[in-house]
Symmetry: C2
């Protein structure tokens, strides 16, 4: 595999694109191999999965897919003959995609049992997010690693909130959204620079696949603040300090001393230059100057 | 004000409902007073705001509203003559709604300058969430408290993700959703029971208006887990421990001892009975039994 892994959309291939076979998919760069279901690795995450009917436990409701991880099956009969493991390369790659909020391309093959599968060949279904991972005993009697993938592609507005099916409308109605944590490609870079350690408390949140942190925009993105999605406007924070920073419980001086927080100073990597005007915007917005 | 405050939808009054005047609104229970813009208090939060052109700094894009808080204006001229304050009762109530994820009813009056205002009287616009709060210098030259309200009512699927306007489509496309933190009415009760302190680390996240915590469902809501939204299935956690719990970094034994976590035991209030089968579900899902 000499080609670099590419995350997200691939230019020239829109949702619904049909491929005759795996060779065509490989030529498109959507998936770099001819055989594996998942393309990815434990360091960078998974970029694509191909659903091709290989597992008996998959569920596919269109916008939501329960995907059974890799490993444990006999190479000849394809039947599961032992427990799956989270340290399996493919499963670990999907965990990284979950923890870093990386979009995963989904492709359905003709053999995948679903209303959304193509009659022939393979069909690109767009980008999905890995939103949950758990284990259970599969139909085979062995442990399987399962992932909940939710559609997050270009038709997002119509689809994202259909996660609760009709039976659960009541719960859906009683549910409020407390917080949406967004992240960007650039935020992922900043988090890697700090090895997922919070720039306030130096803690990183351990997960099955590594560590979790959040990219916090100093001057917020979106209306009305219109902050930039650039390295000089992003911090790597743990969820607790992200909440506090967004709510203005504390702010940061140009010399990186903290205001409104007992700990003294922001950890700063030598390659991380923050724009003072962004810090000033945050201080003003939360009454620190 | 003898009537109790009611949050969320009021039966019999759908989005688009027209009211002739404030008296009709008061009779409907959508807003309990004749004069105030906000109905609420610092303890329970704000249940409704009426946009009636009182402030010169309001912005209304339909799904997103920038609402200027209360206080600081002359009672005769209505002009702002001094700084607004976060401790103002109405502003503090909106902060509580933000931190607890409470839905706020929005009503537009004929005098409110917006494409969405009714020609006559008042129009109920549905439920909104308070997603951001900051201060700035208003047109008057004095400090104003501002709130970003985002539509979260029954037409949510179409509207929620229009937060970035067309100029920002590029950023929108590069943004991934890392985490959506949901909460329910019952979760709010549990958080109050624990005074917003995390049941693992006993920390509560300080904010301008009080404290922030998250309700964590032990057996998750929604497909495929179908956990119940009931007190015996919810924990009060800080964001850090919520992430770790959801990702299975630790789990909890029936005697409330923690597995996979250095601290020993879950704090439990005597009135909080957790169903052991929910704990068992979490342990199984994350490989602890």
């Amino acid at each position: 595999m000499s080609k670099p892994i590419i995350f997200g959309e691939i230019e020239g291939f829109q949702e619904g694109h049909l491929f005759k076979n795996r060779q065509e998919i490989m030529d498109s760069n959507l998936h770099r191999t001819l055989q594996a279901g998942i393309d990815g690795n434990i360091k960078e995450g998974a970029s694509v999965i191909i659903l091709s009917g290989g597992y008996e436990d998959d569920v596919d409701n269109g916008n939501e897919i329960i995907y059974t991880g890799a490993g444990g099956n006999d190479s000849n009969t394809k039947k599961q003959i032992e427990d799956q493991s989270w340290s399996n390369r493919s499963n670990a790659a999907l965990l990284v995609s979950m923890d870093q909020g990386l979009a995963v391309r989904v492709i359905r093959g003709e053999k995948h049992k679903s209303l959304y599968s193509p009659k022939e060949g393979y069909k690109y279904a767009g980008l999905y997010s890995v939103v949950d991972a758990w284990e259970e005993i599969g139909k085979s009697g062995f442990k399987v690693c399962r992932f909940l993938l939710r559609y997050s592609g270009s038709q997002l507005t119509d689809n994202l909130f259909q996660e609760f099916n009709s039976k659960q409308q009541k719960i859906r109605k009683e549910t409020v959204i407390l917080r949406i944590v967004r992240d960007t490609k650039i935020a992922v870079e900043i988090k890697k620079l700090y090895d997922f350690k919070c720039q306030i408390c130096n803690i990183s949140i351990p997960t099955k696949s590594g560590h979790y942190a959040e990219g916090a925009h100093i001057k917020p993105l979106g209306m009305p603040h219109d902050g930039e999605d650039s390295i000089d406007n992003i911090l790597c924070l743990c969820p607790n300090h992200h909440v506090m920073f967004d709510k203005g419980t504390f702010s940061i001086l140009d010399n990186y001393e903290l205001i409104g927080h007992e700990n003294g100073i922001l950890f700063i990597h030598k390659n991380h230059k923050i724009k003072p005007s962004n810090l000033q915007y945050h201080r003003k917005a939360h009454g620190y100057e």
